[in-house]
């Protein structure tokens, strides 16, 4: 009897093995092997002639599935005017698959991995599309941009080719249709208590040297307080992430939030290691000077955002990093409640040794991936035309942001305004309707990028002044395409993490004066011991290889 029991167990195992094998082979036979370049059979619903400036309208009703990132601030509703009007204008109905925002990436991976992804997968940030390239589950969209006149027109008109090149993979193709911006939009800068400046007879600082002088003057007036106490040090990979990002800009380096382990040296035409450049050292030196003279609160690099804001509101500090939203909603609103006559303004990013420049490359935004299954659909061409219209045409972008003229907004010249009774991002707290919640416009899934006219139509007065000043500055060139092959990619990430950690830790130690700057050379040798040179070489070789193969 015992023997029989063992035999049956073995049989069970064998059976399980067979089932497993059968499933595996079953998966492999899905490819239909037809020529994917031939689009003549996929014209269902497509327009014969579709050009820039033309309204896309499918010749017969179509529907496409789309992954929808469900934002809890404006949860998806089926009765949004957005869906209805979209169908009315284009003849296309979206079939959204709603995914909660927190776990969007997770579900996206499962859906793509299981071959069950919707045709359109928006809200994808480069480089997260890279993970799906080797599986063949997403389409190399660069092969099909000839179906997208608006996309090509904007790339050409706004000279976005270098940016587009930067997202190409080692096969020379790109797999993500990114959001396109006409101009760089700088988000962060220094905000100062301007009433205090006025009282002390100081003008608004335009360079970092002037910032230093202003801080010194404030310190002289209030010796027991810190002029500057900063935030964005918690839940960010870098301490004082905002400060280093815009201070770095003045030195022409990518630091803080914009930190990139390698950076393009346009003069030497090669990639260099950001954390070991001379400009990076100068930037640290400046912060070190502020810390040493007690002009910046050393807790800036460790405290929470709330703590930093409390110090500002309690007049324990007079300057803080800001973006246009927190400037108005957190600082000014609360300051004016608590302190009579308090005023705070955000100055254009102060200038430094690099002159009036902004960092390049920030003109691409998150974008849309297309599932490879979509290519099998007979309405593939119409879908690409539709994507082109909604995400890349002026009319489509205006529609996704502002909605329907006369219904949700009015326009005179370049001035857009929500209709009375409709609030756009808190513009009218008493309004009964909300542009995002009730109508589904200005939804992060569909509305981003675009011409400067359109982007700036949504600026608050503060941001408008700020952006006008910033937009006069020159954009630094971005690095050329240097896609790594997958085994190189793995090696690079193995090297990169310890390198980045070492840079971050030492940036802070140098800045806080815990490590003397005379040890800079020692620090660079430590980086070399952590494979800095091999890491940079890897990228330079990839650059040379790509140049040779694709030029």
């Amino acid at each position: 009897m015992k023997n029989a029991g063992q035999l049956s167990r073995r049989q069970v195992l064998a059976a399980a093995g067979f089932i497993g094998l059968a499933t595996l082979t079953g998966c492999g036979s899905g490819d239909d092997g037809e020529d994917s370049k031939d689009l003549s059979k996929k014209q269902n619903g497509a327009m014969k002639e579709y050009r820039v400036g033309q309204q896309f309208k499918a010749t017969k009703p179509l529907s496409f599935s789309v992954l929808h990132n469900n934002n809890p601030v404006y949860p998806m509703k089926n009765d949004w005017l957005f869906w209805q009007e979209l169908t009315k204008r284009t003849g296309v109905t979206f079939k959204p698959v709603a995914v909660p925002l927190v776990d969007y990436e997770k579900k996206r991976s499962v859906l793509i991995g299981s071959g069950d992804a919707p045709y359109l997968i928006p809200k994808t940030y480069h480089p997260s599309e890279v993970a799906f390239v080797s599986s063949g589950a997403i389409l190399p969209v660069s092969d099909y941009v000839h179906l997208m006149p608006n996309f090509r027109d904007k790339v050409k008109r706004w000279k976005l080719e270098p940016e587009i090149d930067s997202i190409r993979q080692s096969d020379g193709k790109f797999y993500l249709l990114p959001g396109l911006h006409e101009r760089v939009r700088i988000g962060y800068s220094l905000a100062l208590r301007t009433d205090v400046l006025d009282r002390l007879g100081l003008s608004r600082p335009t360079s970092w040297d002037e910032v230093y002088q202003v801080f010194k003057a404030i310190k002289a007036e209030y010796p027991d307080r810190y002029p500057f106490s900063d935030r964005w040090s918690k839940n960010t990979p870098y301490p004082a992430a905002a400060l280093f990002s815009y201070l770095g800009m003045a030195y022409g380096v990518r630091a803080g939030w914009t930190y990139n382990t390698i950076d393009w040296d346009a003069n030497a035409r090669k990639f260099v290691f950001t954390g070991a450049t001379d400009a990076y050292r100068q930037m640290i030196e400046f912060v070190r000077k502020l810390v040493a003279e007690k002009l910046v609160d050393p807790e800036s690099f460790t405290q929470t955002d709330e703590e930093a804001a409390q110090k500002l509101l309690g007049e324990k500090s007079f300057a803080i990093s800001a973006n246009p939203q927190v400037l108005v909603q957190e600082y000014r609103y609360n300051l004016q409640k608590q302190i009579k006559g308090a005023e705070i303004e955000m100055v254009p990013v102060p200038l430094g040794p690099a002159g009036p420049v902004v960092l390049g490359g920030a003109r691409l935004e998150n974008g849309v991936m297309v599932s490879s299954d979509a290519l099998k659909s007979d309405s593939f061409v119409a879908m690409m035309q539709f994507v082109d219209w909604l995400w890349y045409s002026d009319e489509g972008q205006r529609f996704a942001r502002w909605g329907v003229e006369g219904v949700t907004y009015t326009r005179s010249g370049g001035r857009y305004q929500p209709k009375p009774g409709i609030s756009l991002m808190g513009s009218d707290p008493d309004a009964s309707k909300d542009m995002q919640k009730n109508y589904g416009f200005y939804n992060g899934v569909f509305a981003y990028g675009g011409s400067w006219e359109l982007v700036s139509s949504m600026f608050s007065p503060d941001e408008k002044t700020f952006q006008d000043a910033m937009s006069r500055r020159k954009e630094l060139p971005i690095g050329p395409a240097h896609p790594l092959q997958s085994f190189e990619q793995e090696q690079a990430s193995l090297w990169e993490t310890p390198l980045r950690d070492h840079v971050t830790q030492n940036t802070l130690q140098f800045a806080l004066g815990k490590r003397p700057l005379s040890e800079w050379d020692a620090y660079v040798s430590e980086l070399k011991a952590k494979n800095m040179e091999r890491f940079v070489d890897l990228h330079n070789k990839a650059y040379e290889r790509y140049e040779k193969e694709n030029r």
Partner: protein, 290 residues
Amino acid sequence: MVKPSRSYRVFQGVNGVVLTLVVLVTLYPFVNIIARSFSGERQIRAGEVALWPQGFNLTTYKIVFEDAMFWRNYGNTVLYTVVATAVAMVLTTCYAYVLSKRHLKGRTALVGIAVFTMFFTGGLIPNYVLITSLGLKNSVWAIALPNAISVFNLLVMKAFFESLPTELEEAAQIDGLSTYGVLLRIVLPLSKAVVATMVLFYSVSFWNSWFSAFLYMDKSELMPVTVYLRNLISGATTGGNAGAADAQLSQVGANIQAVTIVLTSLPILCVYPFVQRYFVSGVMLGAVKG
């Protein structure tokens, strides 16, 4: 009646004090959470809330309650929990009862199959493909069926059934009961303790689970309340998008977590005291024999 000795009374006194302290330590987080859920934003951020709400405020509750989707999702949670627990109980009981019979052929193999799944799983994507191909997506079955048998619960139940005297069942059979009759009329009525325990285990785990719903449901109307609140928390704490940062939402950000915990654990807390008396004996019963 014998008077308790002095040392025993001392022991009782010390015991009482120690246990009271333990109770306080255990209860404090709960009370604190409840207090936070009713407190104002400033007081929470300043860390002034301990046992009693400070700056009484109901904004977050109001926001959560006013949303029709919240109630819809709450209803889903109740539905999924009831259905999934019912399915799980039927399947687990049957499986465990069968396994408790020593004369069953291939019993070790059946146990082995169950235990195998404790150590190995097919992984996320194969599971997803399976559920999708079976057409279970967007239905309660996607939640109920894959998690219907928890091996741990199964083994506890099996041990319990094994501890029942076989004579009882033999007597019932002589009196003319079929196998099912024995199970339904003799064994189950004697197993209230373990059944109650299992119902509690299953329902708590289904009540709290969010992952399978998140995975297999494509519409927000189908999500359980756990997914709803999870999303709300993230929106409130990351500031979501620019428009969100008004005064109301910063209040929500301050105590949404507390409100969430209160709202989701309330029903289970209400049920617990009634099931608890079975619960204690149930866990003990399996343990001795197992």
